[in-house]
């Protein structure tokens, strides 16, 4: 999902850059205020940790392999502000040292993978935790949240590509969302396994992460998710309807279009033409997404049950026999 340079035009790069600077700035300010100074080294180490975790390959069928994105993992382990800083740092280092993801596209990449994915993962996780409690509940929430975070981040990525005129929304949306509905499965599985492993060895590490968040964490979670859903609707809805150039329309209603035309040195060469018949691909993707979400939820539920049961049986034999 790392967008290289050259794929986004100036208006998209600038707009997403603005969003990212605001988001990361807020996270930094919150961290300065709420995170104790003894946790600052942990944020740096966690960034290195996510970076290394992303480098590990998980074998998938026929010689291919997948790897972790880690936004939800970071959010669950560290809380949202710290996780945004962690994911942004990972992306900055990847862009500057490894040329993985562009420099001008850094704003968009941070926006998708460090802000949207993190907040979305954290919000869904927290909301599900209201309904599902205990070890199994946590794993269900983690699995579903990481799948959603991956897919939603990829939809934003598709939106940016389309807005830049790099690809048609009708192509980018089904392609990106489709691919990430699959890779999201891996993301969910890995995140669940990792959280299960951590809660087996050091359960207290999962308990005290909320220190970074003020007490009203739950309502904040709702706000995050609501904001992201609104964003998604703005992105998806106009395209799902037969109206052409939906994103452009949203843009113009928000005033971005105006800005873009004001600066003629920053051209967006290809206009976003909708081909007839393409909107149905978009609609099909949305339907697939909804069905996929339900299926993933059911799968997370089953998998969490298996993991939680293993955990229990793993704990039992090692616990000392009752000594009266």
């Amino acid at each position: 999902m790392h967008i290289p340079d050259g794929f986004l035009d100036a208006k998209t790069a600038i707009a997403t850059g603005m969003f990212s600077i605001t988001g990361l700035g807020t996270a930094l300010r919150r961290a300065e205020r709420h995170v104790q100074s003894r946790k600052i080294p942990l944020i740096g180490l966690a960034a290195a940790f996510i970076f290394v975790a992303q480098m590990l390959n998980f074998p998938v069928a026929s010689g291919t392999s997948g790897h972790l994105l880690g936004a939800t993992l970071a959010a669950v382990l560290l809380g949202p502000s710290a996780a945004i800083i962690v994911m942004s740092s990972v992306l900055i280092v990847q862009a500057l040292i490894f040329a993985d993801g562009g420099i001008l596209a850094l704003g968009a990449n941070i926006f998708n993978m460090a802000i949207v994915a993190t907040l979305c993962g954290y919000g869904i996780y927290k909301i599900l935790q209201i309904f599902f409690r205990g070890e199994q509940g946590r794993l269900v929430a983690v699995g579903f949240a990481s799948w959603c975070a991956t897919v939603i981040a990829s939809v934003f990525c598709a939106g940016e590509l389309a807005w830049s005129g790099t690809a048609l929304w009708g192509t980018a949306f089904p392609a990106m969302a489709g691919v990430h509905m699959l890779t999201g499965l891996g993301e969910a599985t890995i995140t669940m396994l990792v959280i299960a492993a951590i809660s087996k060895t050091r359960p207290e590490l999962l308990e005290d992460n909320d220190q970074a968040v003020p007490a009203n964490g739950r309502s904040t979670a709702f706000v995050y998710v609501a904001l992201i859903v609104i964003g998604l609707l703005l992105l998806v809805a106009p395209h799902a309807s037969p109206l052409p150039d939906g994103l452009e329309q949203v843009a113009s209603s928000l005033g971005f279009e105006h800005k873009a035309t004001e600066a003629p040195i920053l051209p967006s060469p290809i206009k976003d033409y909708q081909l007839p018949g393409i909107p149905s691909a978009g609609t099909a993707t949305i339907v697939a997404g909804v069905i996929g979400a339900l299926a993933v939820f059911a799968l997370s539920f089953l998998f969490a049950r298996v993991l939680a049961r293993r955990q229990k049986s793993a704990v039992h034999p090692s616990s000392p026999p009752n000594r009266q």
Binding site: D5, L42, F98
Partner: protein, 203 residues
């Protein structure tokens, strides 16, 4: 194990390496901005950029094999996304435009990252007014990246020496618990680093 493969050439001594990092950072930004925003019909510009980049890389004395090797590793990702551009009117033109632009930008960043040490890039960023907290975290992250890679390698080796099954399910399990263990160790190390920082008067 040593990990200089990640930034092996950033400390060479060449005319380009000796330039101030801030200048290199700014010119990288300029080149990339111009490349991204200029319309593809201005072919002359892209040819000039390519030429300049090639001359610069010759001056850096970094082996060509390494530079193009990096490029080849990164190009497939760009290609994967660029393919989506083909499905539209004028698709081939857009495809070529994107591919050219992204290749040039990739090469520019590869040159930057191999001629400027990250520590100095951080100092420049600090001078540009990037928040101090972010700089601290980036510096810590970069420093401990190498330590964690070492640690992962050791954990992995210890595991494989005692793993006798090849099933992918087992593999996923072991990989995940390796990641879990890595996190636990990172938190413990973070505690010790905090102690070391306080011992020298931090905060």
């Amino acid at each position: 194990m040593r990990h200089d493969f990640l930034d092996r050439y950033s400390r060479l001594d060449s005319p380009i390496h000796r330039l101030p990092t801030t200048a290199k950072l700014l010119s990288t930004l300029c080149v990339i901005s111009a490349t991204v925003t200029l319309h593809f019909t201005h072919a002359w510009f892209f040819i000039i950029v390519a030429g300049v980049l090639l001359i610069l890389s010759a001056l850096t004395t970094i082996p060509w094999r390494f530079l193009f090797g990096r490029l080849m590793v990164l190009e497939p990702f760009a290609l994967g996304i660029a393919v989506m551009a083909l499905f539209q009117e004028n698709g081939v033109f857009v495809f070529l435009s994107i591919l050219t632009k992204s290749t040039l930008c990739l090469f520019t960043v590869i040159l930057l990252s191999n001629t400027a040490p990250f520590a100095e890039i951080l100092l420049s960023l600090k001078r540009f007014g990037v928040p101090k907290l972010l700089i601290t975290i980036l510096a810590l992250m970069y420093r401990y990246l190498f330590v964690l890679i070492d640690e992962t390698e050791r954990l992995n080796r210890a595991r494989s020496s005692r793993t006798f099954s090849n099933s992918p399910i087992r593999k996923w399990h072991t990989m995940a618990s390796l990641i879990g263990q890595l996190f636990v160790r990172s938190t413990e190390r973070a505690e010790r680093i905090y102690a070391a920082m306080s011992a020298r008067g931090w905060k």
